[in-house]
């Protein structure tokens, strides 16, 4: 890991020298282009690599998995436990933090290190973040290009499912494995809700203006979804067992149309729950689950 990170730091260093030599930077440009980036937000790490700023990333959060290059980078904690000492020791010139990490923002300000604040805000937030991030790391054109690509990928999916009946869908992202307790579903805001809309589904909890809702058994029965889509970061059981068990568990709510018609699907994979450049893949997975006939 150390050797790998040293190599990457070396690569980043060389890249910076080459860029600076090729194009003498004005003071303004030097202030806006970061050369040593620490990212505490997995979604933004993915964005950095996708816009070609990967070589400038010197450390990532403990939850980063993608792209594979991050596996060799040093880890400096995450949302709740950022390791300030390690971050400072890496001498970054840009730290990407969550908007709520006010403590480390203040410390970084004292250390005169630039901070990029990230706040979660639906799919439109992904586009906005990409543009701002591109500008912050000196790659504004790449940020805008990727935002356009994602937009057009989503538009294509939307076009594909257009005109088909939109099932009223319960989008579940957390549940007790063996029961209907501890169920969390997407409310009417957030990227999962937006992805569901583009994939040709109607969120049954669209009226609740929150990202996550813990519905009671009663509200799930009353909302009577036609499709139940369970999304997981990682699969715990073999997919077939998982679906069989899910159908058994949801079977308690026999009057729910999705249960009666067996419209229960489980999707797993980190790309489904990270609001980064892979939202197109995630949205396509939703669309394929809801409208398999549109992808034949």
């Amino acid at each position: 890991m150390a050797a790998g990170s040293k190599r990457l730091i070396g690569v980043a260093f060389v890249a910076v020298i080459v860029i600076c030599a090729a194009r003498p930077a004005t003071l303004q440009e030097r202030a806006t282009s970061a050369t040593r980036i620490v990212s505490l937000v997995p979604a933004l790490t993915e964005m950095l690599f996708a816009i070609g700023a990967g070589p400038q990333v010197v450390a990532v959060s403990s939850f980063d998995e993608f792209p594979p290059e991050v596996k060799s980078l040093p880890r400096v904690g995450a949302l709740l436990d950022p390791d300030m000492e390690r971050i400072l020791a890496l001498r970054p010139d840009l730290v990407i933090s969550y908007g709520s990490q006010t403590d480390i923002q203040a410390q970084l300000a004292r250390a005169k290190i630039r901070v990029f604040n990230y706040r979660h805000a639906g799919l439109n937030g992904v586009f906005a973040t990409l543009k701002e991030l591109g500008a912050a790391v000196g790659r504004p054109a790449d940020g805008e290009r990727l935002a356009r690509e994602i937009r057009s990928g989503l538009d294509q999916i939307q076009a594909r499912v257009k005109g088909r009946p939109r099932p009223r869908t319960l989008l579940v992202f957390e549940r007790d494995p063996a029961s209907l307790r501890g169920v969390y579903v997407s409310g009417g805001v957030g990227f999962l809700h937006d992805m569901l809309g583009i994939a040709g589904g109607v969120n049954v909890f669209a009226d609740v203006t929150r990202e996550s809702v813990q519905p009671s058994i009663e509200t799930m029965l009353a909302r009577a979804p036609e499709f139940i889509l369970e999304v997981r970061a990682t699969g715990m059981l073999a997919p077939a067992d998982d679906v069989a068990q899910a159908k058994r568990v949801w079977g308690a709510l026999a009057s729910v149309p999705a249960v009666r018609q067996g419209h229960i699907q489980i999707l797993s994979g980190e790309h489904l729950v990270v609001p980064g450049p892979r939202v197109v893949q995630g949205t396509e997975a939703f669309a394929r689950a809801l409208h398999p006939e549109a992808f034949k």
């Binding site: 009226d207 519905p215 009671s216 058994i217 009663e218 970061a233 709510l253 026999a254």
Partner: protein, 368 residues
């Protein structure tokens, strides 16, 4: 958090009205107890609180976040699997109401018994570490072994039951080490220490767990009665039945025990046996309740004290009345939890604590 008094300092004249049984010489209690024999008072008390519980349990399933038609609920011509109203009534609401009733009764009765056993008005079912043990168990199940299950019980309730059992066993063993009457001081100190120790373990497990797991565990601690099935209640019933059968033996002995171990012993109470019976039954009831619905706070302290304000301090009345009132109180709190912010839910533990917290403070001030 609790005031710990050694039994020796607890001379009868130092007893306050909350702790004092009639025979202890509290003038008010005696005055109100003299006119009518206990049998009549028990009958009126149980009838009164029983009616309250009955009305609560009849009304609660009729109200919810979504309107249902009673005619449709009981319409046999619609198959059950297609009858949304019937499903809401029988799958969503009835198990909740029933769970609220048994959990509320268990926690309130356990509160009465622990307050008498520890001779401390501020004791709760969770004072002796049972809930911290249960929380640690639940936390471990959520973080490490989430897919295990045995019959109707899934991993979390089983593990919380095991945690509660281990905590109670440790406290019991420590308090009965010298093989004579339990020392309330040792009980309290052991319980409070165990609470802190388990809390530290919980924090450690939380720190190494991932975000979603920590969130689930925190949510579990807030309490939840939305079971979606009668199975978990049926699974908890044997334990609850055993503990309530043991409670039935306790009231008269508890009256004497709350004056002090020596005084009780002088009046023919087998102190050691009563203490053990009280500890085991109350711990069992608490463990069953917590494994069913999480550690719902404040019922075990609010309800017994409210009931004492109404019926006096005789445990023969306080114990059954608290069980009935605790059941009605939790059913009502859960009704508020599921309707106030519908379609969102307020965790039921938040409601009981928001009602219970201010009451607890008032009680502290009043005692001072």
């Amino acid at each position: 958090m609790s005031r710990i008094r050694a039994p020796r300092f607890d001379a009868p004249e130092a007893l306050d009205s909350v702790d004092a049984p009639q025979i202890g010489g509290s003038r008010d209690a005696v005055a109100s107890a003299v006119p009518r024999p206990i049998r009549t008072r028990l009958l009126t008390t149980v009838t009164g609180f029983g009616l309250l519980l009955l009305v609560t349990c009849l009304v609660a399933p009729l109200i919810g976040s979504s309107p249902i038609s009673l005619a449709r609920v009981f319409d046999r011509s619609i198959p059950f699997s297609e009858n949304v109203d019937a499903q809401i009534f029988f799958v969503a609401r009835m198990p909740r109401v029933l769970a609220g009733a048994v959990v509320g009764a268990a926690l309130a009765a356990a509160g009465v018994v622990f307050q008498a056993l520890l001779r401390n008005a501020l004791a709760t079912p969770f004072t002796l570490g049972v809930s911290a043990g249960a929380s640690l168990g639940a936390m471990l199940a959520i973080v490490f072994g989430a897919t295990l299950s045995a019959g109707p019980l899934s991993a979390v309730p089983l593990a919380s039951l095991a945690g509660a059992g281990i905590a109670a066993a440790i406290v019991y063993r420590l308090a009965t080490m010298q093989n004579r009457a339990m020392s309330t001081t040792v009980l309290l100190l052991a319980g409070v220490t165990l609470n802190s120790f388990f809390s530290a373990l919980i924090m450690f497990v939380q720190y190494i767990a991932d975000f979603a797991q920590v969130y689930r565990a925190v949510r579990w601690i807030m309490g939840d009665l939305d079971l979606g099935s009668f199975d978990p209640i049926v699974a908890a019933l044997p334990m609850l039945a055993i503990s309530f059968a043991m409670f039935a033996w306790l009231p008269s002995s508890l009256n004497l025990l709350s004056i002090g171990a020596d005084a009780a012993s002088a009046r023919g109470v087998d102190v050691s046996r009563t203490q053990r019976l009280a500890f085991v039954s109350a711990s069992l009831a608490t463990a069953a309740a917590v494994s069913l619905a999480g550690p719902i706070g404040f019922i075990g302290i609010v309800v017994p004290h409210l009931v004492r304000l109404i019926v006096g301090v005789d445990h023969r009345l306080v114990l059954p009345a608290s069980a009935l009132f605790g059941a009605a109180f939790l059913v009502a709190c859960d009704l508020a939890a599921r309707t106030l912010l519908a379609p969102l839910e307020i965790p039921v533990g938040v409601i009981t604590a928001m009602l219970g917290g201010p009451f607890f403070l008032w009680l502290l001030v009043r005692k001072g």
